[in-house]
């Protein structure tokens, strides 16, 4: 994507004012977005992103410059702009030259590159999903079916001798169903995605995903407003894991930990969660949405156990925060694109399965809320206060699932909530999502088996 001599020149130029680490990240990305609405293909957009990010460290100072002027002059200018911010005594700098290309072990095989497949073939899948949604129920008033495909080619080189290239391919189908009656509209959503090519989209169980999205919209149209108060909450598997993504995952990222800006800082070896909780981040799971071969700093993907049986084991660490923490990278440096400096981020993060069956968990709950499908949420990492929405919820009464409820928002404090996990199921599942933070919006999986938290504050419209 860029020739080696030029990369070496840029790495060198970035260090001329005394920096102790320099890095080049080159990205060439092809994107396709198709969207079917009112049964018509309304959007079909193709694009190419291309740019270069240059990063320099000096101790705990970090500088980032990016550009899509890929001429030699343009790149050296960006490298100089970055180096000018490092005002140190230039000495002999350490740089491993010449660069020697390292092979990246491809652990996520791709069979059909998105750009090799005609768009008419893709359109057929969208139409099929659209039909399933429209046939589901008379109250379905709209279906929006989207296809997102990306081929991202990256080259990462640094002054420590890292010199790697990788291609990431991701595909996602997004089903939005809207159900309406005279006075109301409700939406249902399902968005399966994987680190795979078009083979994933073509082999997808469309019946399942399109019907589930439709069922959520129709069910919520007839749901009562959620009650307010503190209740036991049963959270189902797959995307249910978003609660721990928000409540714990972000607090375990070095970006928060390194500056003591997390409730989990300085607590390795301490009990931070219920004994039932084992929390893992694993970028190596074959072809999962949040998987990677290498992270965006060129480090190999790995499996990081963060919490084991309630005991804090470690954090997610990138190269820069590793300096502040006197630790090593855990292969967790990620970024949306060359427009962002990488920082510590999650990949596929999940709660490991436990012993209970889903039936046992419901049967053991006298009164509470069953959150079947979660929406998104957010957290304030400094305080650990989180919130998230429930897309499909039910009351649980006398050990049985009762009527559907809507508009439930769960709020609480992450550090407290993970201590209140009192049942963990055996049905681990993963769900695809996008996670936004300082290094942009990146694909991540959240996951868990069904589990129960003894008490969460539920905010609804029905104030008791």
């Amino acid at each position: 994507m860029l020739n080696k001599a030029l990369i070496e020149d840029v790495l060198n130029a970035a260090l001329t004012t005394g920096g102790d680490f320099s890095e080049v990240f080159v990205e060439d990305r092809f994107t396709n977005r198709m969207s079917l609405q009112s049964s018509k293909l309304e959007k079909s957009l193709s694009g190419r992103d291309f740019g270069v990010g240059i990063r320099v460290f000096k101790g705990l100072n970090s500088v980032y410059a990016y550009t899509n002027d890929f001429s030699k002059e343009g790149l050296l200018q960006a490298a100089n702009a970055a180096s000018q911010a490092i005002q140190s005594t230039p000495g002999e700098h350490n740089i491993v030259l010449p660069l020697v290309k390292q092979t990246v072990n491809t652990i996520h095989p791709i069979h059909l590159m998105p750009n090799s497949v005609e768009k008419t073939r893709k359109l057929q899948v969208l139409r099929k999903a659209d039909q399933i949604v429209r046939d589901y129920h008379s109250s379905i008033s709209q279906a929006i079916i989207g296809l997102l495909e990306e081929e991202q080619h990256v080259l990462i080189a640094n002054s420590e001798g890292t010199y790697v290239e990788d291609t990431r391919v991701r595909s996602r189908l997004v089903v939005n169903a809207i159900a309406s009656n005279e006075h109301d509209m409700q939406t249902g959503f399902y968005g399966p995605g994987r680190y795979q090519g078009f083979e994933f989209i073509e082999e997808l169980d469309l019946e399942h995903y399109a019907k589930e999205a439709s069922r959520i919209a129709v069910t919520m149209l007839h749901a009562d407003p959620a009650p307010s108060g503190k209740f036991p909450v049963v959270i189902d598997n797959e995307f249910g894991g978003v609660i721990f993504h928000e409540a714990c995952g972000h607090g375990l990222e070095a970006a928060a930990v390194a500056k003591n800006n997390s409730v989990f800082a300085n607590k390795v070896g301490e009990k931070v969660a219920s004994d039932l909780v084992t929390y893992i981040d694993d970028g190596t799971i074959t072809n999962e949405w949040g998987s990677i071969n290498i992270d965006d700093e060129g480090e190999k993907a790995r499996k990081n156990v963060l919490i084991e049986n309630g005991i804090l084991k470690g954090y997610l660490i990138d190269k820069f925060n590793a300096r502040r923490m006197n630790a090593e990278s855990t292969g967790s440096g990620r970024r949306e694109s060359y427009k962002f400096a990488p920082t510590s981020r999650m990949t596929n993060t999940y709660i490991a399965p436990g012993e209970s069956t889903p039936e046992e968990i419901i049967a053991n709950t006298e009164f509470g809320i069953y959150a079947k499908y979660m929406g998104g949420g957010s957290v304030n990492p400094a305080t650990g206060d989180y919130n998230f929405a429930v897309n499909e919820a039910y009351l649980v009464k006398d050990g049985k699932i009762d009527k559907p409820i809507r508009g439930a928002t769960l709020i609480g404090n992450g550090a407290k909530t993970i201590q209140k996990v009192d049942m963990v199921g055996n049905n681990l599942g993963h769900g695809a999502g996008m996670c936004g933070a300082s290094s942009g919006s990146i694909p991540v999986n959240v996951g868990q088996p069904m589990l129960r938290v003894s008490e969460i504050t539920v905010g609804g419209k029905e104030a008791n």
């Binding site: 994107t31 609405q37 959007k43 079909s44 899509n68 998230f388």
Partner: protein
């Protein structure tokens, strides 16, 4: 390759291939951002990025593609993809805008802002950060002490002779402060967008940022019920931003807006007037033409509670048989043309924030909302959101509350606005437009306190 060379080559190749209409949208963003942590530069970034998107009519159908790489390969990449995309698109085609003579002559670029040196910006951050630490011993740290400036240049060309250019620059600062007392940790922040760094006083910023954070310490729980609520200017503007897509004719035509069929109907309390002003001197979304080349102008969307118009681009206006309003919008060259407000806000009233809550016998003040991307349904208007704020009794703030949720419906809330404050600010959340509101008093909302 130079932009104009690229344009000429693209239009020439395109016409040769049989394209009838071609449009080239260009955007260049240059920026500098910096973050300080305990006196050290923790993050420093500078950038220059540009890209183009191209629309073309082929066999009477419109296709799109974009690229960030302006080279010869990209000319064929764009034209091939536009051709393939246009053959699949089933949407009604839209002719390109030929342009007219009604463009305002306003330059939103501040030369003074562009002359501020990087050193001066970093010094400013260091000064404020130090004053934050010195202000109160309960300050643990700053979560963010950051400055960012941005220059956006846009150009639009088509093969019918249209050639337009606009530019805008601005700078913002954000200071987020974490405070701790006993075991309670709270944070809040100061945010300001400006074209004039010298108008900001470090002393005042430190005071405001720390006082705001300290004000949340000592949170208490209150009973869960329906309270009169004051959404302060920050909370109100972020809520309006979340539901602003309802005012777009695109949402209306797609059956995704509760405002469908409501033109000339009362959709809000009569104290509410909503204005869109694309020529605000300090507006992020200020410009003289929209993403399709339509001239922009000031517009009243809601007047004394009555809905006067939706936001339109060329296609939605064509469909409704009305004039385009200049709200064709691309979030960047990567996007196709949608519809979006420019600088859109609730017109301020006369009462100060303090006067608003002095009028409450009992109530809740909301100072910030969280979970807007997940806990709000932009179509139905239903929301259930995490919130921070204060409990008010007999016109006085009694204490901060523990984390809360508020639940309601945006369209009902619009009817329930009883008072509009004078303290207009704009939300830093700018993906829906640059959206502002003063503090608003709402008759009642369901509140749950943790």
């Amino acid at each position: 390759m130079e932009l104009l060379t690229f344009r000429d080559q693209l239009f020439a190749e395109g016409e040769k291939l049989g394209f009838t209409d071609l449009e080239l949208y260009y955007e260049k963003q240059s920026g500098f951002g910096c973050q300080i942590y305990k006196g050290e530069i923790d993050d420093y970034r500078s950038s220059t990025v540009n890209g183009v998107s191209v629309r073309g009519l082929y066999n009477g159908k419109m296709g799109y593609a974009y690229t960030e790489k302006l080279d010869e390969d990209s000319v064929s990449f764009l034209l091939d993809n536009i051709k393939e995309n246009s053959s699949l698109i089933e949407d009604d085609p839209q002719d390109l805008f030929e342009g007219n003579t009604n463009y305002e002559k306003i330059d939103f670029y501040s030369t003074r802002l562009s002359e501020i040196s990087i050193e001066e910006k970093i010094d400013f951050l260091k000064k404020v950060e130090k004053k934050i630490y010195d202000y109160d011993k309960r300050v643990v740290q700053t979560d963010y002490a950051a400055i960012q400036d941005q220059l956006v240049e846009k150009a639009l060309f088509n093969n019918k002779g249209l050639a337009l250019q606009d530019r805008n620059n601005f700078l913002f600062v954000v200071f987020s402060v974490v405070v701790k007392e006993n075991d309670e940790i709270k944070s809040d922040f100061y945010f300001k967008l400006t074209k004039d760094l010298h108008s900001l006083n470090p002393e005042d910023i430190a005071k405001e940022a720390v006082e705001k954070s300290l004000s949340h310490l000592g949170g208490k729980s209150y009973s869960n019920k329906t309270y009169p609520v004051i959404l302060n200017n920050f909370a109100a503007s972020s809520l309006l931003a979340t539901f602003s897509p309802s005012f777009s004719a695109k949402s209306v035509q797609d059956n995704q807006s509760r405002l469908k069929g409501k033109i000339d109907h009362k959709i809000a309390s009569s104290v509410v007037t909503l204005v869109d002003n694309p020529h605000l001197p300090d507006g992020i979304r200020s410009g003289t033409f929209d993403s399709e080349g339509v001239p922009t102008k000031q517009l009243t969307i809601v007047e004394d509670g009555v809905l006067k118009t939706y936001f339109h681009n060329l296609k939605t206006a064509n469909k409704d048989g009305v004039e385009p309003t200049g709200h064709g919008h691309k979030s960047s060259y990567k996007d196709s043309v949608g519809v979006s407000p420019s600088n859109f806000y609730v017109e301020p009233g006369n009462k100060s924030y303090e006067e608003l809550y002095a009028g409450l016998e009992e109530g809740i003040i909301i100072t910030s909302l969280a979970g807007l991307h997940s806990g709000a349904n932009p179509i139905s208007g239903d929301f259930s959101l995490a919130a921070d704020g204060f409990y008010v009794k007999d016109g006085k703030i009694v204490s901060p509350t523990n984390q809360m949720t508020i639940a309601g419906n945006f369209f009902e809330l619009m009817q329930d606005i009883v008072d509009v404050g004078s303290d207009l600010i704009f939300s830093p959340m700018d993906s829906y437009g640059y959206i502002g509101s003063p503090s608003l008093t709402i008759k009642g909302l369901a509140v749950t306190v943790d």
